[in-house]
Amino acid sequence: MSKQLQGLARATHIASRRDERICALKKETGKPVIGYLCCFAPPEIISAAGAIPYRITGRPGDTTSEADAYVEPYGCTYVRNILAQAAKGRLDFLDGLVISHSCDMVQRLYGVWTYYRPLAYSRLFNVPHQLTPWSQRFFHRELGFFKESLEQFTGVTVTADQLKQTIARYNRNRTLIRELYALRRENPPLIKGSEMLDLLLAGGAVPAEEYITLLEETLTEVKARALPDPPGPRLLVWGSLLDDSTFYRMIEEAGGSVVTDDTCIGFRVWDQDVPETGDPLEGLKEHYLVNFQCPRTDRGPGVKRFDYILERAERYNVDGVVGYIISFCDPHKFDYPDLRDHLKKADLPMLLIDDNYSFTPAGAIKTRLQAFMEML
């Protein structure tokens, strides 16, 4: 079915059945599927090692009581949701799992998950919080250990050349995604925020080569679109992980237009290419540790650490910022007051939605979104 569809229709189709798609792929190729969470352990390495990388997503609003047998009620509701998915057996199609030590919660999810539901392959990818030369050296070594462990699991030796080729393929994805993002610099934007996120979500469940085709089709399709009605306020969405387009659709229904973002799965991962260096691990380190913007990494005190958000807001001609934070998300909750004040100085109003990863009560969220749009 999804093969007959093209472009955005196909992306939306895949995004709503990511696990089905990945299971089919597993069957077709006979390759193991390695699930990953967070953006530090490079899918490029998984792919080069002959496995299928699969970005694990939660199911917002789904029951999480299954997680209660293993973890406390207080804690990131997204992490609890993922653990509940695992406990319900919905992720049993995974042959392996790699979780990076991004924040405290995700790091600890790894231990609980692998203790209670061991997988054929699992690895915690450890990540320093600082960007000192020694932290970078650690990260580089960690990349090497990760590669080695995958090689042992799949039996495929990853040569530098193979890895470079895989990186180049992923970079092609990045270029195309940036081109699509750029279509939203215009007014009215040619592609909606919710469509863009579905497209990115589909990307976490298809191989890089196939994704190139999907992105190219979408680009052609979107460029040929008749200009939609002038949209309401142009917004940047900042915050914790968003792996479901419901929230963007709520914003769109409230009359706003998400033209760019600073979220995981969103632009954080696609904003720049992986530098294509002689030692491929060096480029991966630059990209995934040094350049990847996540508040779990220490970029020192001061508001300079948010300058990239201001630049992006300017580039996309943004009217306001909507913050989306998942309950108990320390890294983002810590940054919120500093960011809010910094944006205010730049005359960018900010609305914060604090949510338990369910987008409910929808009525109340929409009312707040509408009030914000009107103010803009």
């Binding site: 406390e72 919660m105 231990g111 203790y115 450890n126 000192t132 650690f138 779990r296 320390d330």
Partner: protein, 440 residues
């Protein structure tokens, strides 16, 4: 909460009661130096205090300031100021306590009158954060230095191997120790730059020797709590960690821990327990509710004693060669990581500097702990605002249940008394003791 529901700890040991004279003497000396504007570092647990002492720096622990504000019930005042500034109630209450405090200092130019110490936490000339145990402990200083204080920050960033990686594999051991070592060198370089002094390795060695001596007495004291009846309880335990935090490397601190050892030893020899009729021997998991340490005395009134606590536990990782004192810090930190790994670090994959303390959770050595301390049950404090330490309680509960050891998890917070509901918590604790009695 109502203030009348909170009660201060009643201690049992003469030595800890003596802290009432010893600590004010120390704080007076320290505060005089602070008032004469000597360099002061605010630091996080995980920063080796011996190193600070070797630089003759003054230091303050905002975490500990949080416990003091909690026990004087002034924390809500500061926390509410931080909440007004946009800091979520879900964030660590030690953090929000400091944020509110800093905001008031910035607005008024002086320490708020409610501060537990005269002059509050002083005016720091640097912030030394740490990634030990949790993320808040470096985000906190990042935010302080962004909003309130324009001073340099160094956050140390050690990591430890996850539970399913073999830390005895020499490549893994090197991988992690290299990070710990280079990070320590970075910290030393930062301190040298800030103080304009070169690190005196001989002095550091002397300070560490005294520090480790004190820790050895403390470790041996804690082992004595295996005795039945238990000679020392949690109110003394949670108080007696303070001298090591502030007076590290001082002869007076060594004397304090020697005396505590001798006193507890004498109690063991004479079979003196902390309650007359010891009915239940328990282990405490999590941070204590600092605003209501009297809860331990409440439990003692039913014959329940805590023979062990999972937090602030030092272990014996400081038995390292002090020839090269910096390498000794690396080694003891690594040994701590190994020890945590031995416990089973699936839910607490962090390490902590044994000069002060860490915690234990995990799966592998629990049965040893239960056997050695003759434990009947466990009480776990699920602190809403500190997930770093309370995460893993359900897992530990599962592990204990498999061993036939009952446990209770109750919810509140370490510093925010607004999250304490007295009647409900006491009813649950009481019911738990009753169940244990029925199981006898």
């Amino acid at each position: 909460m109502s203030t009348s529901e909170m009660s201060r700890a009643r201690r049992h040991l003469e030595t800890t009661k003596k802290m009432k004279e010893m600590l004010p003497r120390f704080f007076t000396r320290m505060i005089e130096r602070r008032f004469s504007n000597e360099p002061l570092a605010w630091c996080m647990v995980g920063v080796p205090p011996e190193l600070l002492k070797a630089f003759d720096l003054l230091w303050e622990w905002p975490e500990n300031f949080g416990t003091m504000c909690a026990s004087r019930l002034v924390a809500p005042r500061f926390i509410e100021v931080a909440e007004g500034d946009g800091y979520s109630q879900e964030l660590c209450s030690y953090v929000t306590n400091t944020m509110g405090y800093c905001k008031l200092v910035k607005e008024t130019g002086e320490a708020p009158p409610e501060s537990p110490l005269p002059g509050g936490m002083g005016n720091p000339s640097m912030l030394l954060g740490s990634g030990f145990i949790c993320e808040p402990r470096w985000k906190w200083f990042q935010s302080i230095a962004t909003r309130f204080l324009d001073v340099p920050v160094y956050s140390s960033d050690p990591l430890s191997p996850p539970w399913d990686v073999d830390p005895h594999d020499p490549r893994i051991a090197d991988h992690y120790q290299q990070l710990i070592r280079e990070d320590l060198f970075g910290q030393v370089e930062f301190l040298e730059k800030q103080t304009g002094k070169k690190l005196d390795l001989d002095l550091l060695r002397e300070i560490m020797a005294l520090s480790h001596k004190a820790l050895a007495y403390w470790r041996d004291t804690l082992a004595l709590r295996q005795a039945v009846p238990c000679p020392m309880g949690s109110t003394d335990y949670f108080s007696a960690i303070i001298p090591q935090m502030y007076m590290v490397g001082e002869a007076e601190a060594v004397d304090f821990y020697r005396e505590i050892y001798q006193e507890v030893k004498a109690r063991v020899d004479n079979k003196i327990g902390i309650v007359e009729d010891e009915k239940y021997r328990l282990v405490w998991f999590g941070l204590p509710p600092w605003f209501n340490l009297g809860i331990f005395n409440y439990l003692e009134s039913f014959g329940a004693v805590f023979a062990l606590e999972s937090t602030y536990n030092v272990g014996d990782n400081f038995e390292v060669d002090l020839g090269n004192p910096l390498e000794a810090i690396v080694k003891r930190t690594w040994q701590r990581a190994l020890r945590m790994h031995d416990y089973g670090s699936e839910v607490m994959p962090e390490l902590c500097n044994p000069a002060v303390f860490g915690g234990f959770y995990g799966s592998k050595l629990l049965d040893e702990v239960v056997r050695d301390f003759s434990l009947d049950g466990a009480v776990m404090h699920l602190t809403r605002s500190c997930r770093a330490v309370s995460f893993g309680e359900v897992h530990t509960k599962n592990r204990l249940a498999a061993m036939g050891v009952p446990s209770l998890i109750f919810e509140s917070d370490m510093a925010d008394p607004r999250l304490w509901s007295d009647a409900q918590i006491k009813t649950r604790l009481h019911a738990f003791l009753e169940t244990m009695r029925r199981q006898d």
